[in-house]
């Protein structure tokens, strides 16, 4: 939904007056220069670090190395902790040795305290120590003066920390203008035995602007704790490509930031965001991936405060010719990317994921923050949303419209107007007078609904939710200790403190059927505005000096949306007694949000560039664990042309979260409102999605099990092919489907890169075979969605597209077997009930489908699992086959029967007619 507001309306009008264009009002959001700590930190230039490792303080246990660092300028000591974690991860933690008060450490994001592996000392002298990082001949070198860390494998440096001397730690301090008594206390502190004989010489302690107070526009941020920023640099030798740190409206490959602002991570409700821009958006995942053709590594900077990331590269300015010259002359430095992270508060807690393959990095990151939640199958189908469906009658008519036009859909959505005066958990008494009746009507069609529940709570003493939160003291407090109040959809609103576990469990209990009146089991939830959005707050969000218990909002800001979705998902689980999988969509997110549901890219616009950028935006999210990503189909703001709308459906049908959405002020755009031709085009795109649901479901099962992304950049599967490294106008779903959607207006053709030197790809519509490692020009018409199946793969589809995915539950499968040049192929089939947690109790079918030596067989991958299905195999289509003389089916009981088949010699397509075996059983099909 929306960041449009009354206030924003005014801003927009102003913007229109000034620029005449619909775009973000940049003046509402800080640049690095306007963010005091960023400005301070960025003013530090690379050079020799003032930090020194005090080797004599080193303590090495089996699992942990600790060591004190001292800043020679101000004598403040830090404590370095170094862990070797299981799965080729190194954790580096740096905190003040004796902070004036505790500094915030992010809880709840890691799925557990990460298990460690033994560290061992290889050598030590006065210059430093060398530690072994487990088996793979990896070492970490701790240099003492100046302090730096180098992670080596063999003779290669994989990554260096503080090699540019940008480690900075603004220690907590007393304010200079406080009373003498305080200064005395400070002095006493300084002669603490931990800091023996060293008098603090606060060279860098001179007060600068913005250390104790900062004003942006009309908002003043009182900073009772003073400066607390942290910073660290990472050097990545041999790396020219870095990815990740969503959410930005940016290309897949991140750009260097030398000539502009750093990438900003600070969850914000940005009205009409601009593209190709490092500005912060709704969510933040502080994870960056670095890749070259030998290795992939990752940096996870676990900090929830406002964060800025600078990227520079020694090859960034070079032309291709310059690089070639370097190569020919064998000269010059190796390429290197330098990255620098700056956060406003908290501690340095960084996980260095050492790969070496992209898949390894995904598993490593998943081992820390968890994997994608396994969504209900239906949530992978098509969602119909609009701000707003006006009343029950409207819902009924839209539902009927889908049936009339024979377009499937699974979820219809209600935005904020469904509530009684923007009081969440309630219904408008006139427009939605009988919600259960409405939900039952939807359920009768085996469909579902999502209603919005935002975290801002109307301040209204007649509103139960507000009264309970207030009386329980669950609201976030302002700096003076009163309940924090901001302006949002309902007017004056309070913001529950979702960082508080008691608050979250109370919130979860509000989703019980007897609490949330009018709700039923087919009603799911959408959390919007959870950055949090505060219309009258600084940068449209909360004041940083608001209080979450003992912690400032400054410390936890980027976690807020994560917690909102966590509590909501928990509520949906609890209401079913732990049986049903939840579905919750969120706009704000953080590392770990993948565990709770889906995200979308917020309030985009009906413009071709917004369609294009949906691909890199979701790819970037997939790289950092959040697979269930989508963009508003059609564009939220403005009104799409029918061509743009059709192209967006065609693209969205091949992205993980597939939902059409539209702003309140736009004309209606249900799929049948653009003439019969466009209706047919949209119908076909949606139907393609439905036929592929078994494949999507399998991808999500695998993402849930392994943390691999569902929607993948090509380089993830072809890490040694530099041609793939910057591609972001096409993508893979899993390993086997390559999609190059048409995202250009008036396109007559697209050029798709088909990767893989000895591979082949089959056009899924024509079955035409193409060789890999080539740029292929594909002429397109309005009905074209260029999609290719990888030779060597088997994809199960359900071709009987029905009203909703649930209606297709028992339908038979068609197996698409695409042979590679070696005439083999493999794939998987996963089946369960589609909506409960019973798969955790091994109630599922997971089979490997394997074709080799002219035998296609189904092998049980989970012999200990139990589930039965009515679904059977109705058809097998083998692409790249030769004509057999006879086809024999052997079923589990050993019975053999002949199968009828058809062979199309022009395309080498063999179709086996109605083999009929149950999809859950062992079988073999032999071609002779």
């Amino acid at each position: 939904m929306a960041s449009f507001t009354e206030r924003m309306a005014f801003v927009l009008v102003m913007a229109l007056c000034l620029s005449g264009a619909l775009a973000v009002d940049r003046g509402n959001f800080k640049t690095c220069d306007q963010s005091a700590f960023c400005k301070r930190q960025r003013a530090l230039k690379p050079g020799e670090s003032p930090y020194r490792a005090l080797l004599e303080t080193m303590e090495l246990t089996n699992t942990r190395l600790t060591l004190q660092l001292i800043n020679d300028n101000n004598k403040v000591r830090l404590l370095l902790e170094l862990y070797r974690l299981q799965g080729n991860i190194t954790r580096v933690k740096i905190n003040e040795l004796k902070p004036l008060k505790p500094r915030f450490e992010v809880p709840d994001v890691l799925v557990r305290e990460p298990p460690t592996e033994p560290l061992s000392l290889l050598s030590q002298d006065e210059n430093g120590v060398v530690l072994s990082l487990g088996a793979e001949s990896q070492r970490v070198i701790v240099s003492a003066r100046p302090f730096r860390l180098d992670i080596m494998e063999g003779r290669d440096v994989l990554m260096s920390l503080n090699s540019r001397g940008l480690l900075a730690f603004e220690h907590l301090r007393m304010r200079k203008d406080t009373s003498q008594a305080d200064s005395e206390a400070e002095k006493k502190e300084e002669v603490d035995p931990a800091n023996p004989a060293e008098t603090t010489k606060d060279e860098d302690d001179k007060d600068e602007d913005g250390m104790w107070e900062e004003t942006f526009k009309s908002h003043t941020d009182g900073k009772p704790n003073g400066p607390s920023a942290i910073s660290l640099d990472f050097s990545l030798p041999g790396v020219e490509h870095v990815y990740g740190i969503p959410e930005h409206a940016e290309t897949l490959r991140l750009k260097t930031t030398d000539n502009g602002d750093p990438y900003r991570l600070y969850n914000l409700d940005v009205f009409q965001y601009e593209l190709f821009n490092p500005m912060a958006l709704y969510g933040a995942v502080p994870v960056m991936l670095a890749h070259n053709s030998q290795r992939t590594t990752g940096i996870f900077w676990l900090n929830a405060a406002e964060t800025w990331v600078d990227i520079s590269s020694n090859t960034a300015g070079k032309t291709v010719f310059g690089k070639m010259l370097d190569y020919v002359q064998g000269s010059s430095e190796t390429p290197q990317t330098d990255v620098r992270w700056i956060s406003e508060s908290g501690i340095i807690d960084v996980f260095i994921m050492l790969g070496p393959t992209p898949k390894d990095v995904f598993s490593q990151y998943a081992s820390l923050t968890g994997t994608q939640s396994f969504p209900p199958l239906s949530s992978l189908a098509y969602h119909q949303c609009r701000w707003n469906y006006n009343d029950q009658e409207d819902v009924k008519l839209v539902d009927a419209g889908f049936d009339e036009h024979d377009i499937p859909y699974d979820f219809i959505w209600l935005d904020i107007e469904h509530t009684d005066g923007k009081r969440y958990f309630t219904w408008d008494p006139h427009k939605f007078a009988t919600p259960k009746e409405m939900l039952q009507g939807i359920m009768d069609k085996k469909r579902k609904m999502v209603a919005i529940v935002d975290p801002h709570i109307k301040v209204d003493s007649n509103y139960k939710i507000h009264n309970e939160i207030r009386s329980r003291g669950f609201y976030i407090k302002n700096k003076d200790g009163g309940d924090y109040e901001g302006w949002c959809w309902p007017g004056s609103a309070g913001y529950p403190d979702f960082t508080c576990a008691d608050m979250r469990s109370w919130w979860a209990s509000m989703f019980a059927y007897d609490q949330y009146g009018g709700s039923m089991e087919n009603l799911y939830t959408w959390n919007d505005m959870n950055e949090p959005s505060v219309f009258n707050g600084p940068e449209v969000t909360m004041h940083k000096d608001a209080m979450h218990g003992a912690w400032e909002h400054r410390d936890v800001h980027n976690l807020y949306g994560f917690y909102v979705q966590m509590a909501t998902a928990e509520g949906l689980i609890q209401r079913s007694g732990g049986v049903e999988r939840p579905f919750v969509l969120t706009r704000a997110f953080f590392a770990g949000s993948q565990r709770y549901g889906a995200v979308w890219t917020g309030d985009n616009a009906a413009e071709w560039d917004h369609l294009k950028i949906s691909i890199p935006m979701c790819l970037s999210l997939g790289l950092v664990g959040i697979s269930f990503c989508g963009a508003d189909v059609g564009g939220f703001f403005k009104s799409p042309s029918s061509e743009l709308l059709v192209r967006w459906y065609q693209t969205g049908a091949y992205q993980p979260f597939f939902r059409a959405h539209a702003h309140l002020d736009t004309p209606r755009r249900e799929p049948w409102l653009f003439g019969p031709e466009n209706t047919a085009l949209i119908r076909e795109a949606v139907r393609q999605r439905y036929t592929l649901l078994p494949y999507w479901y399998l991808q999500f099962y695998q993402a849930h099990c392994t943390g691999q992304p569902v929607m993948r950049p090509l380089w993830v599967e072809y890490p040694q092919d530099p041609a793939t490294f910057a591609i972001d106008d096409e993508f893979l779903i899993g390993t086997d489907l390559l999609v190059h959607p048409v995202t250009e207006e008036g396109a007559r053709g697209v050029t798709a890169y088909l990767p893989g030197k000895n591979e082949v790809w089959f056009d899924v519509n024509t079955f035409q075979k193409h060789n890999g490692a080539q740029n292929l020009y594909i002429p397109v018409t309005m009905s074209s969605i260029p999609v290719f199946q990888r030779g060597g793969s088997i994809i199960p589809r359900k071709l009987r597209v029905r009203r909703s995915s649930t209606c297709m539950e028992h339908d038979p499968y068609t197996l698409f077997v695409a042979l590679n040049p070696q005439r083999t192929a493999e794939g998987e089939l996963y089946i369960d009930d589609g909506h409960t947690f019973n798969y955790e109790k091994k109630e599922f079918i997971h089979r490997k489908l394997f074709f080799a030596n002219n035998i296609l067989s189904s092998i049980n991958l989970a012999p200990d699992a139990k589930f039965s299905t009515q679904s059977w195999i109705e058809r097998v289509i083998i692409l790249g086959a030769s004509k057999p003389s006879k086809v024999t089916l052997q079923t589990a009981d050993g019975q053999e029967s002949q199968l009828e088949f058809e062979f199309d010699s022009s395309m080498s397509v063999l179709t086996l007619r109605k083999p009929g075996m149950n999809a859950g059983e062992d079988w073999k099909v032999m071609l002779q």
Binding site: N390, D394, D406, H430, K446, T666, R800, R802, R803, K914
Partner: protein
């Protein structure tokens, strides 16, 4: 709304060799006569007959699987005995949702469908009967309204003619009054001139009888009248006093007028003697000969009077012309082939929906008023916008109050058949786009009426 005529299928035992093929209508049975093989209806493929309805799609056109969900483009025929037969997409066969009221689409699913055709049929028949009654009543009322409309139309036409006649009359009157005003103006002008001339030359002219006569003969008609005497002759003792009529008559020798000859012998002497009367002191009169001159004042009054009269008549003429153009504009609107919509003109219909009251004044405007009393225009009369074959089924009101994001509010009014004329529903599916359902007998269409519908059910 469309009603389907159900044709009872009485092909009993006509094809003894035809086993029951699920999902086809009787008219398609001829394609499914049991033979060795089946030809897809599009002729594309010949398949063994056992493969008809075997839950595998062989024909591109889906014709081999009329009774299963196997074909993506297939359709399934619900016989729905007791109700309306119809086709559903094959994808709705055995999908766990009851689509056919005879339950025939869910022959192999976990759901148990109620057979509801009879009830539906009854309800449908009751509904159709209701509709029929409504239609009958509606058409009767419509006929009345048409008749009234014709009368109204004639009345309006008569009114127009009347107004036009009135306008014509007024036009003549205006012309006449213009003329009169012109004359009065001229007279005033002349009086003024004479007065000015008289003021300048009275002394010289007073020396001769004819000169004085001419001076006194204000209107230059060759005789002096009572008025003229009163205007210029005063008593010696009281110059200010106007002579009475009797005194003037006495001066004129007992008559009401006097010519020059008579004057020479009578009044001329009296005046030249100057014992009793004299010519008003022209010296004093010279100071303000215009204002105070009674003759001039009379002329001025007359001119003003005529001007006022002209204005009145002109105004009346303008009013009538406006009425005519108003009426012509109204009559220029398309009120349907029989002027059946004419009666809606000048009516307004209200409906409250949630917090808003909507007012539709057909052929005029649509407004929305909130509980606080703020009124917003949703559009003024635009045009008929129904489909070509029934253009009177929809009205569009446009150019209402502007919307926040540009454009202006519009209201689309759909007219449906009913026995009363009333606004039935208002919706705003998209911001500033209003859709109204307006029921009225005049929207009833006799083409809808198909007697004998469902009589076999």
């Amino acid at each position: 709304m469309r009603f389907y005529v159900f044709i009872a299928s009485v092909f009993c035992c006509a094809f003894a060799d035809s086993r029951k093929i699920r999902g086809i209508s009787s008219s398609y049975k001829r394609f499914y006569r049991e033979r060795k093989s089946f030809l897809c209806i599009d002729g594309s493929k010949l398949i063994p007959f056992e493969q008809v309805n075997d839950d595998y799609c062989d024909c591109e056109d889906g014709s081999d699987e009329p009774g299963t969900s196997a074909c993506p483009r297939g359709r399934f025929y619900c016989t729905n005995l007791g109700f309306r037969p119809h086709y559903i997409p094959s994808s709705r066969v055995n999908d766990g949702i009851c689509d056919c009221c005879d339950a025939s689409d869910e022959y192999n699913s976990h759901i148990r469908c109620q057979k509801t055709c009879w009830n539906l049929g009854q309800r449908e028949r009751a509904y159709v009967e209701g509709q029929m009654r409504t239609l009958d009543e509606g058409l009767r009322l419509k006929q009345q309204l048409i008749e009234e409309g014709v009368l109204l139309w004639r009345e309006k036409q008569a009114q127009l003619r009347e107004l036009q006649q009135k306008a014509e009359d007024l036009h003549l009157k205006v012309e006449e009054h213009k003329k009169r005003k012109h004359q009065a103006d001229q007279h005033k002008e002349q009086t003024l001139k004479t007065l000015q001339a008289g003021g300048a030359g009275s002394r010289q002219h007073n020396n001769t009888a004819s000169g004085l006569f001419q001076f006194l003969d204000n209107n230059k008609d060759g005789s002096i009248t009572v008025d003229e005497v009163q205007a210029r002759v005063v008593t010696i003792h009281d110059e200010k006093r106007l002579l009475s009529e009797n005194e003037a008559v006495a001066l004129l020798g007992g008559g009401r007028q006097m010519d020059l000859t008579m004057f020479r012998h009578t009044l001329w002497d009296t005046l030249t003697k100057g014992d009793n009367v004299k010519i008003r002191d022209t010296n004093a009169a010279l100071d303000s000969p215009v204002v105070e001159d009674p003759l001039l004042m009379a002329a001025d009054r007359a001119a003003k009077w005529e001007a006022t009269n002209l204005k009145k008549v002109e105004e009346a003429y303008e009013t009538v012309n406006m009425e005519i153009s108003d009426l012509q504009q109204k009559l220029a609107i398309d009120y349907g082939t029989d002027w059946e919509f004419l009666f809606l003109n000048s009516q307004c219909y209200k409906l409250q929906v949630y917090e808003y009251t909507y007012t539709l004044c057909p052929f005029n405007q649509v407004t929305q008023e909130n509980t606080a009393g703020t009124q917003v225009s949703l559009g003024t009369w635009g045009m008929w916008a129904g489909e070509p074959k029934n253009q009177y089924s929809q009205m569009v009101y446009e150019n209402g109050e502007p919307c926040w994001q540009g454009g202006s509010r519009t209201a689309t009014v759909t007219l449906t058949c009913g026995t009363e004329t009333a606004l039935r529903s208002v919706k705003e599916p998209s911001k500033c786009q209003y859709i109204m359902d307006f029921q009225t007998p005049v929207a009833c269409q006799p083409v809808l009426k198909q007697r004998g519908i469902h009589s076999e059910l």
